[in-house]
Each structure stands twice: as C-alpha cells, then as structure tokens.
C-alpha cells in the first residue's frame, strides 16, 4: 500500500503542472480614457455628462471594439465603437414589461411558438445610425422614435426546446420580427460548483 506521503507528493506535483505556456484567445479588458479615440470620447462625454464612465476593449480574433459603460437616468448604457471611434450602437437596459404592448405581444407569440419554456433574462433597446443623429435623439426626453435612427431590441432569454436548455441572445426589429439569434456559450464554472 502506497503511503499517504507518496499520494501527497503526487498531488503537489500535479497541482503545479499548469505553469506552462498557453495560446492567446479573445478577451475583454479595461482601458484608460486617454487611450480612447477622440470621436468616441466626445460622443460619450456629451451623452454621459460627467457621469462615471468605464471603458473596455474587446479583443476578438479578427476585430476589436471599444465599449463605454455608464448609468444615466438610473439606466445602464453600453455604447460600442469600432477601433477608430466610430459609433456602432447604443444599448440601454430596460425592463421587458416597459416595452410597447404590441411588441411584447409579438415577442410572447414568438417565444411560445418556438420553445416549450422561456424566461427573459435581459432586455436592451439598441439604437444605431449617424452619431450626431443618435446623440440628438438620446438627449431629447419623451421621444420614442426618430427617422434615421435604427431601433432594435436585444433580448437574452433562457429557452427550453425538447430536452435542451440554452441561453440565447435574440435581436428583433420594432415589429417583433427576428433578425438574428446566437446561443450564449456558458463560461466554465467548475471552480464555483465544486
């Protein structure tokens, strides 16, 4: 019978094995305000107005983007730019219940037809268009739509079809028509489960 000492030495040896070279994959990290391109900085300064803004860089395999996150009027804003600072879209977190009734009805019908069960986890309204027009639109309160501002709805939901449960990100237009969907790959959580 091997002594407990020998078991111990083996476990210490294996636990120190990960100290080896690894390959680089896509990642997201904080970036300083100084490193942000001027057009992106101006857009967010005008919109956030002195509020605390956190800047992130998302480094993908083929392209990278810049993202600003802040709170305005008690709502979470996420503004995405390309690497030169050109606006891609503005996403504002909302409650599902606050969506227009006609849209909610269309979305409910979609989920009920497509899945056995569903639960809405996150709802965001996405605005895109020319930066100056989007900015003007967001700075005016009480207006829900404006020509030349493209409005879409990003919904993250847990859905169950047959035996599989998944978390999926859906993108709908204003009439509730599905534009795209993507399954969200869950990050490894072994260290939180065991």
């Amino acid at each position: 019978m091997m002594s407990t000492w020998r078991y111990s030495l083996i476990i210490w040896f294996v636990a120190s094995l990960p100290l080896v070279a690894q390959t680089k994959l896509e990642k997201e990290y904080r970036m300083s305000k100084e490193a942000v391109p001027v057009p992106a900085l101006r857009f967010v300064d005008d919109l956030a107005q002195e509020r605390k803004v956190k800047w992130y860089k998302e480094q993908g395999l083929e392209r990278s983007t810049i993202e600003a996150k802040f709170k305005r009027n008690k709502r979470r804003y996420s503004v995405e730019f390309n690497n030169s600072g050109l606006l891609e879209d503005v996403e504002i977190e909302r409650s599902y219940r606050s969506l227009p009734d006609t849209l909610k009805t269309a979305l409910d019908l979609f989920f009920e037809a497509q899945y056995k069960r569903h639960r809405i986890c996150k709802t965001q309204i996405q605005y895109s268009g020319k930066p100056e027009i989007v900015l003007a639109f967001l700075q005016q309160s009480g207006i829900t739509a404006m020509p030349r501002v493209v409005t879409r709805f990003e919904i993250v939901a847990k859905v169950k079809s047959d035996k599989t449960s998944r978390e999926v990100e859906f993108l709908f237009d204003q009439s509730g028509r599905l534009l795209s969907k993507a399954v969200i790959i869950q990050k490894n959580a072994d260290h939180l489960e065991y």
Partner: protein, 216 residues
C-alpha cells in the same frame, strides 16, 4: 457573508488555539456528453502547526468522484462518494449536491447545496447539510476571460448531526485564481474553518490551499 464574518469574529475571541496546514487539490473534470460530466477531486492535507508547536504531519488523503447532470442552463445535480485515508483507516462518504451559477453584471455567484453521509468505522454515521456561497470577481474587465486573474471568495455553513451531537462549522475562503486559455484554472489562497460552534470549545484551522482545476 456578513453573518459568517460576525460569527467568526465573535468566535475568535473565545477560541481554543489555532491550527495551520497545507492543502493541495487537483480537481479533474471530464465532459461525458451534453448533459453529464465526471468530476474527480484528489486532495491531501499536511498539518504544520497545532497546539502551539510546529510539526509536519500528514493528515489525510481524499479521492472523490462525482457524476454531475445538467438540469438547466446554469444548474447542476450531482451524486458521488468520497474515499478517505486517515489514521490508517478507510472512511467513506456519500455525496448529493445541487449547484447553480448566477451571471451578474461584473461578477458571478455560485450557490451550492450539499448533503453528505460519512461512514467511519466504529462510529455513528455523520450527516451534514451544507450551503456555500461563492463569488468570482474578474480582475480585468467585466467577465473572466482566458489568461486573466480573478478573486474568489467562499462562505460555507455546515450543520452536522452525528449520534446525539450537533455541530456548526463555518468556512471562509479567499483565493487568487488564474484562468488559462484552455479553461484550466489554478487557485491559491486560504481555507479558514471554524467549528464546534454549538457544543464544546471552538476550534479553528487555516489551510494554505493550491487547487488546480483541469478540464479534459
């Protein structure tokens, strides 16, 4: 967490000595199919300090295979057993576990509920009911990406029934972790355990822990 810290602060004032040791752990995970995976934990403990003196005593070696079934997107149900070699005795434990993970805006929370039954030769069966709250805070950005460091804090409560005795143990763990590109992780930190809360004098022990999580 705050309830645990308050209880521990109160307990530290009345405790009966402190022990310290080393705990290396290897945690191996193998996906069997879309719904099932196998987790095998190999752990050992060496006691370095007890009763006001330094020593180097091998305390135990554990091997714990557990099969996990995916219940939902972020919830898992597990069952397995533990085989322990301690004081030249073989001790066995059956384990039932439910775990779920919550993805929040800038961190993740893990909830783990466990019941286990420990079978020790010539002793009554020990029944334990456990709840653990784990939190993971990425040190770069909002989510934990490959090749990034993170902080992990755990707070666990264990209620034990063995024969006529009852006990409460509280564990507070703080780790610094690193997430490798291939999903493997290494964590280094302290696993602080405070027991005999309900009966007898409080005992506490701190384990310096190195855990390597391997996904294959």
């Amino acid at each position: 967490m705050w309830i645990g810290l308050s209880l521990v602060c109160w307990a530290l004032q009345a405790q009966n000595g402190h022990e310290f040791g080393l705990m290396p752990v290897v945690n191996l995970n193998k996906k069997l199919n879309d719904n099932y995976k196998l987790n095998v934990k190999l752990e050992t403990r060496q006691l370095l300090y007890t009763q006001d003196q330094f020593m180097f005593e091998q305390e135990l070696v554990d091997l714990a295979p557990v099969v996990t079934r995916r219940m939902g997107v972020n919830s898992r149900l597990s069952g397995g057993f533990l085989l322990r070699r301690r004081d030249r005795q073989w001790i066995t434990r059956s384990i039932q576990q439910f775990a779920m993970v919550q993805n929040l805006n800038s961190f993740r929370l893990g909830h783990r509920f466990v019941t286990d039954q420990t079978f020790i030769p010539d002793a009554a069966v020990s029944w334990r009911f456990r709840y653990r709250l784990s939190s993971e805070f990425p040190l770069s950005g909002l989510t934990l990406d490959p090749q990034e460091f993170y902080l992990k804090a755990n707070n666990e409560y264990l209620y034990e029934i063995q024969g006529d005795t009852r006990d409460l143990e509280i564990r507070i763990l703080v780790f610094l972790g690193y997430n490798f590109a291939n999903k493997n992780k290494i964590e280094v930190g302290f696993d602080n355990r405070f027991d005999t809360f309900l009966e007898g004098q409080l005992e506490s022990i701190s384990w310096f822990n190195v855990t390597y999580y391997i996904s294959i």
